[in-house]
């Protein structure tokens, strides 16, 4: 069933495509995170802006990714931009919502105490609100990263230059459904996604020591 010869001969390509996959995903999430951070701070401060941002985000999230990639080809051609813009957009959609929700989740009395003790607005944001928003932010990053890894496979439809491991899936299919190659793309991409998920679970745990402490208390 499995063509070991092919696999042996294409190890380099697989490694390359894996790195490409990680690179494209990381780039998308990083840029997306940076933009959503700014957008979320703006939306949290100027509430009126939040509705339109939120509505736009909702529409974008609903549109199937293939459609977004395809649409961009006509505009930005077969370039990295075409691949990255939708990746960044989907990341934005998830993260803006989560960051705002995280900031909203800070209890009112904590904010009042912070003000009463003499924190400036900026100090309050960075020392109190954001740290407390971290759990939701990390949860958002987790979902964003995992979905972006999935979306990178679809970038293979733009051109052979992209796709990460998705390249093998499409290429294999076009070679009369060459299963070995298709699996060489599919399995590692799934492992990549699951691996990222597990990584973030650990990050989540480390980043909220106070939640762990409470869990310990509850058990003791």
């Amino acid at each position: 069933m499995i063509d070991w010869v092919w696999l042996a001969g294409h190890l380099d390509a697989i490694v390359y495509r894996t790195w490409q996959h990680v690179y494209l995903a990381a780039l998308g999430v990083a840029i997306g995170f940076a933009i959503s951070f700014v957008l979320a701070l703006v939306a949290a401060r100027y509430r009126l802006l939040y509705s339109p941002i939120s509505a736009l985000a909702g529409i974008l999230y609903t549109i199937p990714s293939l459609a977004l990639f395809a649409a961009l080809i006509s505009i930005t051609g077969f370039s990295v931009v075409t691949a990255e813009v939708p990746l960044v957009m989907y990341t934005l959609v998830i993260l803006v919502r989560n960051i705002v929700a995280g900031l909203d989740g800070v209890p009112a009395e904590v904010l009042e105490a912070a003000d009463g003790m003499g924190y400036t607005r900026r100090q309050r944001l960075w020392r109190v609100e954001l740290p407390l928003a971290v759990p939701l932010i990390v949860a958002g990053l987790r979902l964003a990263t995992v979905s972006t890894i999935g979306l990178v496979t679809i970038t293979a439809t733009i051109s052979d230059a992209f796709g990460g491991l998705g390249y093998f899936i499409l290429d294999g299919y076009h070679r009369l459904t060459f299963l070995t190659e298709m699996y060489a793309g599919a399995l590692p991409s799934i492992l990549l996604a699951l691996g990222a998920d597990l990584l973030f679970v650990r990050v989540q745990r480390r980043v909220t020591p106070w939640a762990q402490a409470r869990a310990l208390e509850a058990n003791s």
Partner: protein, 245 residues
């Protein structure tokens, strides 16, 4: 602009609206495969989710399953399904069936999770009152928990539906039908009008699905529960904040 006129030309071309490869037919294909997989996913996930929410057992397993499902790259799932579905039917197994399998696999998690969290979040006092009155477990589930949890459950179905429409679009890559065909063919033929026309159609279908189920959610919320609590936003709602369980 070139793009706009090309798209408009494509969309208004009567040839596009007739025949096997025309818009209506593709739309039908898309809706058909989407409905079938939604039905299967509902059959698999809904009873399980409701049962887990009601009894409280198996939530951990369900959460892991849901997590797993959520993480899987859709294209990879379709690819992996192929050798299996080919055994069922050599022709369809290489085109439509793997996509169908993937659609079901990816739709199960949101339905499952929303079903059991929706039921689990129903005020326990209501359940206890029902038990106290002598209602049987099934009656409690159907008569108390489900009506109250319906908006949340439908929210999961809404996510699943949108996910299914998206995955069906991908199916065109593997020789399937549906509106995705316009995207794939358009790219291959470098026909911008077709690509953009396809984009608009796909987007319209996806948004329409979201809005339709959203309306259903709103209607399903009992008038007695309308005040207070989370209300599903009609229209397009961005994904709710992820709690990362």
């Amino acid at each position: 602009m070139n793009l706009v006129t090309a798209t408009a030309a494509w969309l208004t071309n009567p040839a596009q609206w007739a025949g096997q490869f025309g818009i209506p037919n593709r739309l039908l294909e898309h809706v058909l495969i989407a409905s079938i997989s939604l039905a299967i996913a509902l059959l698999l996930a809904l009873p399980a989710g409701l049962a887990i929410g009601h009894t409280g057992r198996g939530a951990g397993v369900a959460a892991s399953v849901a997590n797993l499902g959520r993480s899987l790259p859709s294209l990879a799932v379709i690819a992996i399904a192929i050798p299996v579905t080919v055994l069922i039917d050599p022709v369809l197994g290489g085109t439509v069936l793997p996509t169908l399998v993937a659609m079901v696999v990816l739709a199960v998690p949101p339905i499952l999770v929303n079903a059991y969290t929706g039921i689990a979040e129903v005020d326990r006092d209501l359940v206890e009152a029902g038990r106290g009155m002598g209602m049987r477990e099934r009656e409690i589930l159907a008569g108390i928990e489900l009506p109250v949890a319906l908006p949340v459950v439908l929210g999961g179905i809404r996510s699943a539906a949108v996910q299914i429409v998206a995955t069906a679009t991908l199916g065109a890559i593997f020789g399937g039908g549906g509106l995705g065909r316009f995207l794939v063919d358009g790219i291959a033929q470098k026909d911008d009008g077709q690509v953009f026309g396809g984009v608009l159609l796909v987007a319209a279908l996806a948004i329409a699905t979201e809005v339709a189920v959203g309306l259903l959610q709103r209607v399903a919320r009992s008038p007695g529960l309308r005040r207070g609590g989370r209300g599903p936003a009609v229209g397009i709602a961005p994904p709710p904040p992820v709690l990362g369980l």
